[in-house]
Assembly symmetry: C2
DNA sequence: ACCATAATATGGTCTGACCATACTCGGAAA
DNA sequence: TTTCCGAGTATGGTCAGACCATATTATGGT
């Protein structure tokens, strides 16, 4: 038998847990501030260095953002833009090579099909509203950038139809990548009329509760928005 | 007009970049070691604290793992087990409430159904092998813990059928959560005979290339493995 | 040859200090 | 009175040096 090394927890991990707990219990949200480093260190009876290591972890996790020289109110700010951190994470995990377009699109297709087929009565209305709002803004968009901004919001709304936060989180995690791909696609396509028609159709079908038809519409839409995959597998 | 504050890079970020560069240039892989903290600090002419903050970031990203007291050969080890970091990320992003069982199971179901329906001829053989190996080990498992270890490996194999690394990465990200849930489920169920029969059936159907039937089998399996959801939505 | 002990190097932590920045507030100038 | 400028002050960022517990390696005695 082999002895397991007891895995003594390092103090910054304890600090991390306490901060997380505090965020949860106090219901802190984006924009709220944590106590200053010295204050935290004092309250938790640890050194400032340990507090800083914990804050560094929270920062790479995309939870807080620190800024020097802020006034007496002070401390790390809670943020809520985890996408980039998650994207970095994925990039690092998958090795040097970044995700292929196919992989991202397939995943998108999977999530959106699932979402429209499993729209949850309790969550769908809010998602439908978000989709409708995104549609309006898309119409008024002047630049491809702007159009894609709202396009992403629309598809995020689709992902939220089922009320499954994990799906929405995954979609948000892919936001950056999707955005980059999409701007290129829209600029290549030039006109957005067909895409908008697809969007409206999807929205209508979901609103009418016709999941299967919506799923087909989603499939067609993604096929139209992104080149039909020339062929030839990327890897040997 | 407002001036952007030039965002002076903090020294630990510079350290981070240098370490990443070094890893890439020297072609370091899992198991290789970085120089010790003091040595790194000396070479880069920064304090040990800055080096440690950088290492903490790399640790959060799942790139390295530090361990105290190792001999003169030294430093942080390169690893390739990003799952826990990703899991933490997701947990934090989704707010104070952790994911519900339903959300995790639904996502699993979505991924596995998609995977068996879109098995990629180039990637499926390797995944099938992994599934078969996991099956054998599951039979020999003595404890629920052990059984679940290989069960998770089996389902990870399922997720890899399509060759989409994003799906596999997501499944890996959920590994910890699934593992915890599954141990409880297996202990509750007591006997694993039915589950093993499901596993074998899924493997056979995929091997035979019958995606639709495999998808149905996956659905049945997950329904059997996890209680049929009493009812009553968790949130108001 | 073998095993227990000492030496050594490492990560983990703490203390106390200094810097540059950003806010606050009081007093001088309008 | 109002406006604006400057000192004061608290913050995050960084550093140097120290101590501890642990893990590896040498050492030395049996």
């Amino acid at each position: 038998m082999e002895w397991q090394p007891v895995r003594k927890t390092r103090t910054f991990e304890e600090v991390l847990a306490q901060i997380e707990r505090r965020i949860a219990e106090d219901g802190l949200t984006a924009g709220d501030r944590l106590p200053g480093e010295r204050q935290l260190a004092g309250q938790l009876h640890v050194s400032r260095a340990s507090v800083r290591e914990a804050l560094r972890v929270l920062e790479t996790l995309g939870v807080v953002s620190s800024q020097a020289g802020r006034g007496p109110d002070a401390g790390a700010v809670l943020i809520s833009r985890p996408e980039s951190a998650l994207a970095d994470l994925l990039r690092l995990h998958l090795g040097t090579a970044s995700l292929s377009l196919d992989e991202v699109i397939d995943t998108r297709l999977m999530i959106e099909q699932w979402a429209v087929l499993h729209a949850h009565p309790g969550h769908a209305p809010a998602a439908l509203d978000a989709m409708a709002a995104a549609l309006e803004r898309m119409e008024a968009a002047a630049t491809p950038q702007e159009f894609v901004d709202h396009d992403v919001a629309f598809h995020l709304g689709v992902a939220m139809l089922s009320g499954n936060r994990l799906l929405a989180a995954t979609m948000r995690a892919l936001r950056q990548t999707i955005h980059a791909f999409s701007v290129a696609a829209v600029e290549r396509a030039g006109q957005t009329g067909l895409l908008m028609a697809d969007h409206r159709r999807i929205h209508e079908l979901v609103a009418a509760g016709d999941g299967p038809a919506a799923a087909r519409a989603v499939t067609e839409h993604l096929a139209r928005a992104y080149p039909p995959a020339p062929d030839g597998p990327p890897e040997a």
